[in-house]
C-alpha cells in the first residue's frame, strides 16, 4: 500500500461490495474467529452453558431481526415459532426415528411454513395491531402444543436421548459448543449476505415505504410472507437446537416471556443489524446469569437479599430495555460504531 494512502478507495464494484475493507476490520475478524475457537478452553463449565445459550439466542435473534428490524413487521410470536422447531425436531426424532440432522432440517422447514401461515395477518395489519395478531399466534401455537396430547405429549415434557452421530456421543457442553457455534456463525453469515442482495433490500424497502415499494415492482404480499418464513426458519433452528441440546422439550420454555426476551435482545442490540443481534444476545443472556451468580455469591452471607434475586433480575431487565429505548434506540451496535469512530478519528472529534 502506498505511503500516501489516506482513505479507502475501490477500483471495482466487487471490491466495494466486500464486507470488510480496512486492515483494522480484517484484524478484528481474525481476532473474533480466534476467540470463537478458543472460547470453550477459556471459560468454566458454568459459563460454557451460558455461552451455548448465547449461541442459540444469536440464531433466534437474527431470525427475529430479519422480520422486525429489517422488514418492519413487529412480532410477539417468536416463542411459538421456537416451540414449533423444538417439538417438530423432537417428535420426528423420537417417533419417526429420523436422524437428528434430518429432523432438525425438517423442523426448520416446518417452522418456515407455519411462520408464513401466521404471517398472513401481516398483509393487512400494521404496528400495534400486528403485535396483537402475532401475540395470538404465540398463544394458538402453545395452546395446540399443550392440548394435542397424541402428538406433542401435552403438558408432559419430551425427553430426548443424548445426541449421537456416526458413533460419537455429544455428552457435554464442550461437545455441543462446536455444533452451536457452527450454527451461530452460519446464521451471521447468511444474515449478512441476505442484506447485501436485492432480496434483502426489498425487505428493507417494504419496511421504509411499502407503497413506494409496490410502485417499484416489489410484491409486498410475497415479501412479507417470505420474511415471516425466513425469520421463522431461524427460530425453528434455534428451537430444534434447544431441544437436542437440553435434552428436554416442554411448552414452559416457549411462553410469551421468551418472545419478549427476544424482542428485548434485538432492541438492545440494534434493530436492523446482524451484529446488533449478536451483541444483544450476548448482553441479554449474560446479564441475568451475572445477577444469578451474584445472588449465589452472597447467599451464605446475606440470604434475605439472595432470595430477592429473581425480582432484581426482572427489574434490571426492564430497566435496561427502558434505558436503551430512551438513550440509544439504535442499540449496542450503534454504541460500538461510535466507539470505533472515536478511536479512528482520535484526537479529532469529527
Amino acid at each position: 500500500m502506498p505511503a500516501t494512502a489516506t482513505g479507502v478507495f475501490h477500483r471495482s464494484y466487487t471490491s466495494e461490495l466486500r464486507l470488510r475493507h480496512t486492515r483494522a476490520e480484517k484484524t478484528r475478524l481474525v481476532l473474533v474467529a480466534l476467540l470463537v475457537l478458543a472460547m470453550p478452553f477459556l471459560v468454566s463449565p458454568y459459563w460454557l452453558t451460558i455461552v451455548n445459550q448465547i449461541g442459540i439466542a444469536i440464531v433466534g435473534a437474527i431470525g427475529l431481526n430479519i422480520l422486525v428490524g429489517y422488514t418492519g413487521q413487529i412480532s410477539l410470536g417468536q416463542g411459538g415459532f421456537l416451540a414449533v422447531g423444538a417439538y417438530t425436531s423432537a417428535i420426528l426424532h423420537m417417533r419417526a426415528d429420523l436422524p437428528v440432522p434430518v429432523s432438525i432440517a425438517l423442523a426448520v422447514l416446518t417452522t418456515a411454513v407455519i411462520g408464513a401461515f401466521f404471517g398472513i395477518p401481516a398483509l393487512r395489519l400494521k404496528g400495534l395491531y400486528l403485535a396483537i395478531a402475532t401475540l395470538a399466534s404465540q398463544e394458538i401455537i402453545l395452546f395446540t402444543v399443550r392440548t394435542w396430547d397424541a402428538v406433542t405429549g401435552g403438558t408432559d415434557a419430551i425427553s430426548l436421548p443424548r445426541l449421537e452421530m456416526a458413533g460419537f456421543v455429544f455428552t457435554d457442553d464442550f461437545h455441543w459448543y462446536w455444533i452451536i457455534a457452527g450454527f451461530a456463525v452460519l446464521a451471521v453469515i447468511t444474515g449478512r449476505n441476505l442484506f447485501r442482495t436485492g432480496l434483502g433490500r426489498s425487505f428493507m424497502a417494504v419496511r421504509d415505504q411499502d407503497i413506494a415499494a409496490s410502485a417499484m415492482g416489489i410484491d409486498v404480499t410475497k415479501t412479507k410472507v417470505l420474511a415471516f418464513a425466513i425469520s421463522s426458519a431461524y427460530a425453528g433452528l434455534a428451537g430444534a437446537l434447544t431441544a437436542h441440546y437440553t435434552g428436554i422439550v416442554t411448552w414452559e420454555r416457549f411462553t410469551l416471556d421468551v418472545s419478549v426476551l427476544y424482542l428485548a435482545i434485538i432492541i438492545v442490540g440494534g434493530l436492523g443489524s446482524i451484529a446488533g443481534s449478536v451483541y444483544g444476545a450476548i448482553f441479554m443472556i449474560t446479564l441475568p446469569a451475572l445477577i444469578t451468580r451474584f445472588g449465589q455469591d452472597i447467599q451464605s452471607a446475606w440470604s434475605e437479599a439472595a432470595a430477592k434475586v429473581p425480582a432484581v433480575q426482572v427489574i434490571v431487565f426492564g430497566l435496561v430495555i427502558v434505558l436503551f429505548l430512551i438513550f440509544e434506540p439504535r442499540g449496542l451496535n450503534r454504541i460500538w460504531q461510535r466507539m470505533k469512530d472515536y478511536i479512528r478519528f482520535s484526537p479529532f472529534r469529527y
Binding site: Y13, N193, D208, A215, G217
Partner: protein
C-alpha cells in the same frame, strides 16, 4: 443520439415514437361522495412529454395513482401498449393490475410527497429501481453465491450512469433521509429511471423548489426525454415550465378533463383560462 458515453438505454419502451403508448379511456374514480375523476379519456404518445395540469384537488394525483395501480377506479380503462423485441404489440389494462405488475411492465413513478426508502442509502434506493430486472433467489442470496453476487455488480453499472446523469455522485452512500429536499427529489427521479421506464410518471417533480433548482430539474427531465427518449407524463403547477417542456397538455378541473392539446392550444382555451382565473380569484 446520447451525447455522453452512457451504455445503457434508459427508455424501456419499444413502441415507435409517435404511436400511442397509453390509452386512458373513461376513467371514473369516486371516494364516497366525491368524484375525484369523472370520465377522463386521453392518449399519451410515445416520445412525448405529456403534462397534466389543473387547480388543487382537480384529481391529478388520483389519476397517476390509478395508472400505477394504487387506486382502483370504478369505471374505465388505461391500456398500455408494449412491444417485446421483434414481436407485435401487446396491450395491458393497468386499471386491473397490481402495482408491482404494472412496474414490471415499465411504468415507473415519483410521488408528490417524496416516498423514498428513508433509511437506505442513495445507492440502495436506486438499486431498488432495478428490482424488477433482477432475479431474487433465496438460497443464492443467503450464500452470496454466483448469480446473486454477479447481478449486484451488473446492475450497479446502470445505476452509476443514472447517478452520473443526475449528478448525485457525492451523496451515493448517504442515507436519503439525511439529504436536502432538492436532492431527495432528484433521487426519486433517479430511482424511477433505474427501472428503465416505458412510461415515467412524475407527480410535481419541482414542487417546493426555488427557481434554480427548478431549472436543474427541468434540465434533467429534458435530458431523460431528449437524450434517453423516455416518454414522460408529468404533473406540474408552474405554467412556464409546462409550456417550455411539454409536447402535450391535459387539463383537469374538478375531476373532469376540460382540455387536451398542444401547450399553445390549451393556454388559449377559454375553459382553461376560466378554471385558472377562478382559482386565482378564490385565493
Amino acid at each position: 443520439m446520447i451525447s455522453r458515453a452512457y451504455q445503457h438505454p434508459l427508455n424501456g419502451s419499444r413502441m415507435p415514437p409517435g404511436e400511442t403508448l397509453l390509452d386512458v379511456s373513461g376513467i371514473t374514480l369516486r371516494f364516497g361522495g366525491i368524484t375525484a375523476l369523472d370520465d377522463v379519456s386521453f392518449r399519451v404518445t410515445q416520445g412525448h412529454v405529456h403534462a397534466v395540469i389543473g387547480p388543487n384537488g382537480a384529481g391529478k394525483s388520483s389519476l397517476l395513482n390509478c395508472l400505477s395501480g394504487l387506486y382502483r377506479p370504478q369505471q374505465g380503462s388505461a391500456t398500455l401498449h408494449t412491444r417485446a423485441e421483434g414481436s407485435s404489440t401487446t396491450t395491458s389494462d393497468l386499471v386491473r393490475m397490481k402495482p408491482h405488475r404494472i412496474a414490471a411492465l415499465g411504468v415507473a413513478r415519483s410521488f408528490q410527497n417524496i416516498e423514498l426508502f428513508r433509511h437506505l442509502t442513495v445507492l440502495d434506493n436506486l438499486m431498488l429501481g432495478r428490482h424488477v430486472h433482477m432475479r431474487h433467489r433465496l438460497l443464492a442470496s443467503l450464500a452470496w453465491y454466483g448469480p446473486a453476487r454477479r447481478q449486484e455488480i451488473e446492475h450497479r453499472e446502470l445505476v452509476e450512469e443514472v447517478i452520473d446523469l443526475l449528478q448525485i455522485q457525492a451523496v451515493r452512500h448517504t442515507p436519503v433521509g439525511a439529504l436536502a429536499y432538492g436532492f431527495q427529489k432528484r433521487v426519486e427521479l433517479g430511482r424511477a429511471l433505474c427501472l428503465q421506464p416505458a412510461l415515467l410518471l412524475l407527480d410535481e417533480p419541482m414542487a417546493g423548489m426555488n427557481a434554480e433548482e427548478k431549472e436543474d430539474m427541468a434540465r434533467y427531465i429534458l435530458d431523460v426525454h431528449e437524450l434517453a427518449g423516455v416518454t414522460v407524463m408529468l404533473i406540474e403547477h408552474d405554467m412556464n415550465v409546462v409550456m417550455d417542456i411539454s409536447n402535450r397538455v391535459s387539463v383537469l378541473d374538478f375531476g373532469a378533463l376540460i382540455a387536451d392539446g398542444s401547450p399553445a392550444e390549451v393556454s388559449s382555451d377559454p375553459e382553461v383560462v376560466k378554471a385558472y382565473l377562478g382559482e386565482e380569484l378564490s385565493e
